[in-house]
Structure formats: C-alpha cells, structure tokens
C-alpha cells in the first residue's frame, strides 16, 4: 500500500488507435485494442479487454478520490483510508463482528481522550495529566487485547495470496486511489465477491496501530529522505491555496490526529459505485464477466455525487523562492503553473518538456538528446543531469525543470542556465527533427503500454476516470502529435514566465562546510567501513 505522488495520465502520451481486434499489429503497424464497456444501474463503469495469451487477468479498481479531497486538518486521510480498506469487512477478518463493535467504540473514546491529553504536551499553556495518560494507555492495551480475540489477522490479503494473486497492492495519488491484483483467470468470481464486499461493508479494525504504520511510512519516505522533504516544501511553496500543496501521506500531526469516524465519513462520501471504474484485462469472457460483476457489485446503491470543495490556485504575482540545506545531493528546481490535463495548452507544454528533456541516452539521467543535456551537460558543463516534465493532472499543476549542478558550477549558475534554456523555447521553437523525435516516442510508448495486461488496465482506468471516456487514450495521443512548433512557442511564451514561477534550491551541507569535517580521518582505506 503505497503512495504514488502524481497519478493521472501523467507524463507519457498513451495511445492506441481503432477499436477492434485484440491488441495486435495492423497493416499500418499501429496497435489496436478492443474494449467492452458496460455501465451498471448504480453507475459503476466496467471496462473489459480480452487477451488470452496467459491464463491470468489483471484487475484494477479506480476511485475518483485522492489527496486533493482531504478535508482541512485531515491531510493524508485518503491514503489512510486506502490502508484501512485491507482490514476486512463484517464477514472477513473477524470471527464475530458484533462482538467487536462495542470494543472499537470504546477504543475510539480512549484514544480521543489520550490524544487530547497528549496534545497538551505540545501547547505552552496546558499541562498534561501524565497519570491519566498512563491509565488510558493501560485501558487501550486491555481493549486491544479484547478485540484481538475476534480478529482474523490480514485475512483479505491472505486470501488473495492463496488465490495466486500477483502484484497485489493499492496506491493513493493526488487525484485518484486504485486497488489492483493480477489473478489466475478462474478466480475472478472470488475477486468480485471480495471487492464488492469491501466497498459495501468495510470495517476499520486495528485503526490506531495502522495510523502509526502510516506515520512510519512518512518517516521512511519523507522525513529521512532530504530530497523528498525538499519536494514537499517545494510543493507547499509553488501552490499557495490548491490542495496539491499538501503531501499525499499527510502532515505529521494530521496523521496522528485523524480518528476512525472521520475516515468512515470520508469513505461514505467517496467510495460509491458511481465514483468507481473497474477494469479487467486478460483471459476472460466478457459476457460471463459482466454477469459476475452485476451479481456482486450491482446491489451496492449509488450515491449523490459529493460536493468537492477544491480551492483553485489564484494567479501568481511574482516569483517565489525556497532554499534548503541538507545532507543531500544539491539540486535546482524551477516550476511554472501549467493547465489541467485535457486543456488545449497542456499538449504543447508536454511536448515542450520532452524537447527539453529528450529521450534515449544511457544511464546517469538527463537523456542524451534533449536541449538541456546538449547545452547544460555537454556544452556548458554546468549540470550533471537535467530533466523537464509537465504534469498532466486533473487540476492545474506544474511544468517542472530540475537539474544537478556540476562540481564547478554553483546552484545560481545552474539556475541562470536553466532559465535561459526554458526561455529559449519561445524564441527558438522546436525543429522538425525535435518534433519528429517526440512524435515517434509517443507512438512507441503507446505500443509498449500494451505489452502487459496490467499496463493496459492502468491506462484505460486513467483515461476513463480523468476524461470520463477511455477513448481519451487516442485523443490524447493525437493531440500530442498534432502540436506544431508554433504551438510550443506560443505556449512557452504564455506559460513559462518568470513572474509566475517558483525556484527551489537544495544545497548540500558538504558544500557549505570546510573539507576537514567531511572526511573521516580516523579510518584508513583498509579498515574503511569495517567495525572499529
């Protein structure tokens, strides 16, 4: 259960052309894909693709809810809910749900009391009652032990393993949440039964220990990773109001303060069949599969669509800057507001990012063919690697360029060189050769996406969820390929402006302290790394 930072039809153009014939090579060398779409009475959308090469089926459930929907003070709740969805239902993960209910209610009360008392430790004018904290902790342990008599640990996960499930996981992004597993094709009915049951009847047992697990996940991925901490601070600067400013995993005290009732409320608001796309790709019979899905998901009632209170980012007036010094590799990041996926201006900006970033090249990053590599890495030697991307998300996002400075260059030199290269897009638009390269890579990626059932399932779910129609896969590919040099020039001039951008500099502690402190003089080479 992990966090994917940016989901959506992201950086890559996906494309397939035509509707008929299982994925196969057509005469013109373009891949084809046949998709069966079925909408249930309750509004749940089902997409099916038959591929009989292997007796397996990739399953993918995608909900239109993500970290952008986290209410104030509850950042991270979409992700915490994703974790809780693995804790079982009224019939799974328990030998007696009725017996658990009063214990869980009691635990909610005990934790609320203890959390309130613990919060006093952090506030200057309040004094915690430490004896009360100790007593509550004892009561919590006792109640947890009581519930444990009825809990069947991680049973849902175990069942999937025993079915031969592969790639079992879920992820939460800013715009969506998805649950997936690849199964032997004769286990589809069990999948339908399990997934419908957890959408209809989840039980958030063991909530408080899972809350701690999520906080550990944050420590692992962000707090002990200087680059991730920097990216978090950068996003909180580049977005002043829009919720993309918040980390998907949540701010630390929000994670610690979220309670079970809030997660349940969030679940009830967003996990409706009419807010879900299911995609199945593999060795399946569409008619039988539709009947199975109808049987298990059909009875779940639709819900009125939730009111989404997403604050729009107001226009930026003036450049924003952020600097951090850490025990980390230095980097420079420059980001400009960019339009939402599907906006006509999004395509030329995505092409522009590919012109800068390039493709090909070997390891070491940066791409051997983009403008950034040729000018900053090879010619000027101010960078060791440089990348550009334009995020295509549900809401307006960022066009981002980042680079690692070469030893001889300061972050400021690199910032100036990056700026020059970005602004050059408006004066020296892409050549035919550059555009040809981008277009060919879009076509090739479209074909490569079809090499696995799971890849097809994810791409279809992305498009269907984002655009409301999986054919967006084709439209996106065509729109990207139709971008002209003049389109890029105009978009660059309009969007990549200094007065709207955010500049972030991550300095290395190594660069700001004397060399003598850097090197461990005690250990010679021979004993280096070995116990002293």
């Amino acid at each position: 259960m992990h966090i994917s930072r940016k989901t959506g039809a992201a950086a890559l153009g996906i494309g397939v052309s035509s509707l008929f014939g299982s994925p196969s090579a057509s005469a013109d060398g373009v891949a084809q894909l046949e998709v069966v779409k079925h909408t249930l009475q309750n509004g749940m959308r089902l997409l099916l693709v038959e591929r009989h090469d292997s007796p397996t089926v990739a399953t993918y459930l995608r909900f239109h809810v993500g970290a952008v929907d986290d209410p104030k003070g509850q950042t991270g709740i979409a992700h915490l809910l994703e974790h809780m969805m693995f804790k079982g239902t009224r019939t799974f993960g328990t030998t007696s749900h009725d017996s658990e209910v009063p214990i869980m209610d009691k635990l909610d009360r005990l934790f609320a009391e203890r959390d309130a008392e613990l919060a006093k430790r952090r506030a200057p004018f309040t004094k915690p009652d430490e004896a009360k904290i100790a007593d509550l902790t004892k009561q919590i342990e006792a109640a947890t032990a009581d519930q444990k008599k009825f809990v069947v640990k991680d049973e849902l996960w175990q069942i999937y393993q025993r079915l031969g499930g592969d790639g079992l996981n879920a992820s939460t992004g800013e715009d969506s949440t998805q649950y997936y597993v690849t199964l032997p094709s004769n286990q589809l009915e069990v999948w339908a039964y399990l997934e419908a049951d957890r959408i209809a009847n989840p039980v958030f047992r063991e909530f408080y220990s899972e809350r701690d697990v999520v906080h550990e996940e944050r420590r692992l991925r962000t707090d002990t990773q200087p680059h991730a901490s920097f990216r978090e601070a950068f996003d909180a600067t580049a977005f002043a109001a829009h919720p993309y400013r918040n980390p998907v995993v949540g701010w630390p005290t929000d994670i610690d303060a979220t309670v079970r009732a809030e997660v349940l409320q969030f679940f009830r608001t967003y996990y409706a069949p009419n807010n879900c796309v299911a995609v199945l790709v593999g060795d399946l019979d569409p008619k039988k599969t539709i009947a199975l899905v109808e049987k298990y998901f059909g009875p779940i009632p639709a819900q009125p669509p939730p009111r989404r209170a997403i604050t729009e980012e107001p226009p930026h007036r003036g450049e924003r800057r952020i600097e951090m010094t850490a025990d980390a590799a230095p980097s420079v990041t420059i980001a400009y507001p960019s339009p939402a996926a599907g906006d006509p201006a999004s395509y030329p900006l995505r092409v522009a990012a590919r012109v800068l970033s390039g493709g090909g090249g070997g390891r070491g990053g940066g791409g051997g063919t983009g403008r950034l590599f040729k000018r900053l890495v090879v010619e000027k030697q101010v960078a060791l690697g440089a990348f550009a991307s334009s995020r295509a998300q549900r809401y307006p996002s960022l066009f981002t360029v980042s680079a690692s400075p070469a030893k001889e260059s300061s972050p400021e030199d690199l910032e100036a060189a990056l700026t020059e290269e970005i602004e050059r897009l408006a004066t020296e638009p892409p050549t035919d050769e550059e555009l040809g390269r981008v277009r060919n890579s879009i076509d090739a990626e479209a074909v490569r996406r079809l090499t696995s059932n799971f890849g097809i399932a994810g791409a279809l779910a992305d498009a269907e969820d984002l655009a409301g129609d999986w054919h967006y896969l084709f439209r996106e590919q065509e729109a990207m390929k139709a971008v002209s040099s003049e389109d890029v020039r105009k978009a660059a001039a309009e969007w990549l402006r200094r007065d709207r951008r955010t500049v972030g500099i991550l300095r290395s502690e190594k660069d700001s302290r004397p060399r003598a402190e850097n090197v461990d003089r005690k250990s010679g080479k021979a004993s280096e790394g070995q116990p002293q």
Partner: protein, 515 residues
C-alpha cells in the same frame, strides 16, 4: 501503542497432521469445533468459507519450452558459436533483443573494480566507430528505440526494444554498440563526474547505507560484494581499460542472444548470422578467473552506523544458502511464514500490524543465488522503538527456529507459490530470456518445472526442519543505521554495540559556494 502478544498456540504435530488435506486440491472443511483450536491463523471468518466454495483449482503453469512446436522457442547455434533463442510474437509491432555475456563485478579484483560497469555504460553512451556519441543518441531517440547495456554481478547484458518498422536500422546500431564502441573520451569524463557525484552523496539515504554496509560486513573484504569503490579508484580508470575489457569479453563464443517479436524467425536468424560473422574467431577459450565463493562465516554482534535521523534502519540476519541447496524450496516456504509472505507472515504481523512500529517489516532468504545469499529481516522504525522492533524480530526468528507452524501458515505459503506460479510465465520476452539465462548459468531448461515440483513436494515437517537447520539465532548480526546516542541503551540489551564508521567522500576543495 503496545498490544498483547499473538496467541501462538503450537498444536501438537499429531493433531496438525490429522487435519490433513495438504494437497491443494483438497479443501479444508473445518467444523465449528475445529475453529477454536489450532495455531496461528487457523481460525477463519465466515467469509473465508464462502471463498473456499468459490475458489477455482490451481491452473497449470505454461512452462516455456524449446522445440519445433507452435508456441515453443527455437534455439540455434550460429557458425560463430553464438547461441540464439528466437520466438515470433505478432501481437504488437515490437521487436526486443537481449544479449548476455560473461563478465561483471564478480570477476573483478579491487585493482580492476568498476571497469565492467564503466565499459557497459560507455558502450551505450560513448558512440561507435560509425556514429559519434551524440549522433547515435539522436538517431536512437528519433527511432524511439531503447538500447541499454548493463553490467551485473556475473553477466553483462545488452538490449534493444524497437518498433518493428524501424528494426533494420536499430538492429544495425545495436550491433555497432555491442561490437564497435568508440568510447568517446568526453562521455567517459561525464560518466566519471557523475560517478564521483554519486560517491560524494552515497550516504544520503539510510536504507542505502544499511544495505551496503550489512552486505560488506557479511561477505567480508575479500569478496567482490565487500569491495568498495573510492574516488581514487574511479579516477584511475582510463579509456584503455575499457577498450581492453571490451576486446576481451565481446566475442562470439561468449555471447547468448534472444529475439522476440514481430519478425520472421528465418529473417532474424540470418541477420544475426551475418552480424556476428564480422567478429574475429577466438583461438582459445575465454580466460576468466573462477567466480568467488563466500565463506559463509557469520558476524554475530550488534553494529551501529550513527546518523542524525528520526527513524532507525535495521537488518537482522546471517549468511544463507545457494541455489544448489536441496532444501531450498522448504527454506523459501519457511521464510514466507517468517517474514517473506508480506501480511501473512509473522514478522509483518507483529511489528507492523499488531504494534504499528513500521511500514515495512519483512525478511528475505534468497534461494536462487549461485553463491551464498544473505538471510536478513529488515525494518525501519522510529528511533524510540528501535529496541522493541529488534526484540520482536529476534523473538520471531527464535520461535520460528524452535516452534511449530500452523496449518494455515503452511497452506498460505504453499498456495501462494503454487496457485501463483502461472503468473511467472505471462510475458513472452521474459520466457525466452529465462531459457537463455538458464543455459548461461549452466542450469537445465526445466529448472522452473523442477521448482514447481519441488515446492509441491514440500511437507509441513520439511518446513519445520528447514527452520531448525537454516535459522541460526546465535549467528545473527544486528545492524542498525540511526541515531546512536538516542537508541544506544536500548541496543545494549542485545550486546555491546560496535560503532561502524563509514567513509564520507567530498569534492576536493568543496563545491563553489556562490556564483
């Protein structure tokens, strides 16, 4: 938060066997009376019974095979001595080639360290006799062709992935990369600068430190996995070293090639035959030093790398086994129960699910390595709970080593392998590469079928005896990267911590502070 310990009721083995029905086709029909007996996980929910009713039989894996049959892989030996594996796959307009050679870091000494890696990277990045580096990159990118060359422990691999319409040109470029690299000095300098940058920042990530230092400690400094690259060594490598290395290993009798995709077998076989004719025929077999063999000597004790972070990165383990060990399938099932089976395993349940001490809590016991692998349980937990997490892991290893396993544990581990085996062969490219790999490693083509049969034959008592034999609590190394002062006392409970000082490289003279 703490909770009570798991109820580990180890039922007598007699009862255990009496429950019977180990064959995966036979479903356990538990009576209500059984439900409140049994070991860990043996009590199920009512939903589980519904699942048992709906569940399908395990599907037979489609093992890749060599032969003339449709769907099979064609194997041929070219006149140059090169072995090729071909499979037509017309579903998508794509062609993928993978080549493999003997070479890599396991054959290196401290004096030749990193030559294999740099040679591989510069074969790809340094241009060819016919195309300058930038021209090559530009052309491959224009064709959206992916070419990569990588050095591993015991092999060098090169691959091409291209749309079939551009195959002829990309194929020619790929063979230039493989056989006629130019090793452009400017590109080599860029790679060296990137390598140095990586060395200066090799201690930025605590997980990377743990993995590197734990591995070095257990393999020791005389094993290639214990060698360490330094800026001095990286600076000492010259273009000549790469040219000589390439000349030495890229030869037709040291090459295995697969091609899968939208082509006609005969066409590709002819193309490969022609491409390899140009290579000189070697007079004598390739001289390679023998591959290293780990001593397997344990390093029991507590080791600490001090880093100012809020979360400790912990590894607990000892030297493991290699792929020729006849007990390997039982060892794998045992490890799945201990910590390798994600949420169904004991360490994950105790450390993560029960106590909320970690996001990731697991163990690995590799069974597929030629040389001895390393058994290790790993966890990352906030500094304050370091001692608790170590104690839980030790307890679970000891309990696994000396106690019984439950019916549900055994069935879950076994079924997740046998029901899931079918997933291993769903990618035609990987299937063909797999056959090539097996031949390259000197293993039989039916290695995977034997594995399936091997797993199928494992009995519960085999798992129990594998635990007794292959988990050695007295040999355990406890290795922690974290805030030494803050967790010092907690760790002393497991033995006197030995500080491990890691070298921190820095750019000479520092980087320019301001422009």
């Amino acid at each position: 938060m703490t909770t009570t310990l798991l109820h580990e009721i180890a039922i007598p083995l007699v009862v255990f066997f009496a429950l019977g029905a180990w064959a995966i086709s036979a479903r356990a029909q538990e009576s209500a009376a059984d439900r409140f007996k049994g070991g860990r996980g043996d009590v199920h929910s009512s939903g589980f019974e519904t699942v048992t009713r709906l569940k399908g039989e395990p599907l037979a894996p489609r093992f890749p095979e060599i032969g003339p049959a449709s769907g099979a892989v064609e194997r041929a030996v070219l006149s140059s001595g090169t072995v090729i594996f071909l499979k037509e796959d017309h579903r998508l307009p794509l062609i993928r080639i993978e080549a493999i050679l003997r070479g890599g870091s396991a054959y290196e000494t401290p004096a030749t360290l990193a030559v294999a890696d740099l040679t591989a990277s510069q074969m790809r990045d340094g241009g060819t006799a016919l195309h300058a580096a930038q021209a090559l990159d530009d052309r491959l990118a224009f064709l959206a062709a992916r070419v990569s060359v990588n050095a591993g422990d015991e092999s060098i691999t090169a691959s091409l992935d291209v749309l079939s319409k551009d195959f002829d040109e990309a194929f020619a470029l790929f063979f230039e990369v493989l056989t006629r690299p130019a090793f452009d000095p400017a590109r080599l300098e860029l790679a060296r600068r990137r390598g140095l940058f990586g060395l200066w920042h090799r201690n930025d990530n605590p997980g990377v430190i743990l993995d590197r230092e734990y591995t070095r400690l257990l393999y020791g400094e005389s094993h290639p996995r214990g060698f360490m690259l330094t800026p001095e060594r990286l600076n000492a490598i010259g273009r000549d070293d790469l040219v000589a290395y390439h000349e030495r290993i890229v030869r037709p009798d040291n090459l295995w090639i697969t091609a899968v995709g939208d082509f006609r077998r005969t066409d590709v076989a002819a193309k490969l035959e022609k491409a390899l004719e140009a290579l000189p025929k070697p007079a004598a077999p390739l001289p390679l030093p023998p591959l290293p063999k780990a001593t397997g000597a344990p390093r029991p004790g507590v080791y600490v790398v001090n880093r100012p972070i809020t979360q400790s990165n912990i590894a607990v383990g000892h030297p493991g086994i290699s792929r020729d060990n006849p007990d390997r399938y039982a060892v794998d099932l045992m490890n799945r129960i201990l910590g390798g089976g994600s949420f169904s395993s004991r360490i994950t349940e105790r450390v993560r699910s029960d106590e909320g001490l970690a996001y990731s809590a697991r163990s690995a016991y590799p069974i597929g390595d030629r040389d001895l692998g390393l058994f290790r349980a790993t966890v990352q937990t906030k500094t304050e709970s370091t001692g608790r997490a170590v104690a839980l892991i030790l307890e679970e290893i000891e309990k696994m080593q000396s106690g019984a396993i439950s019916k549900n544990e055994f069935e879950t581990a076994r079924e997740s392998v046998l029901y899931g085996f079918v997933n291993r062969f769903d990618d035609p490219v990987q299937n063909v590469v797999r056959l090539m790999r097996l031949e390259f490693e000197g293993l039989p083509y039916d290695w995977d079928r034997r594995a399936f049969e091997g797993y199928s034959a494992v009995k519960p008592e085999d798992v129990a005896s594998a635990a007794r034999k292959y988990l050695r609590p007295s040999d355990l190394t406890i290795f922690v990267v974290g805030d030494a002062a803050a967790m010092g006392k907690d760790l002393e409970a497991f033995g006197k911590p030995t500080p491990v000082v890691i070298q921190d490289f820095a750019p000479p003279g520092g980087r320019k502070a301001n422009g």
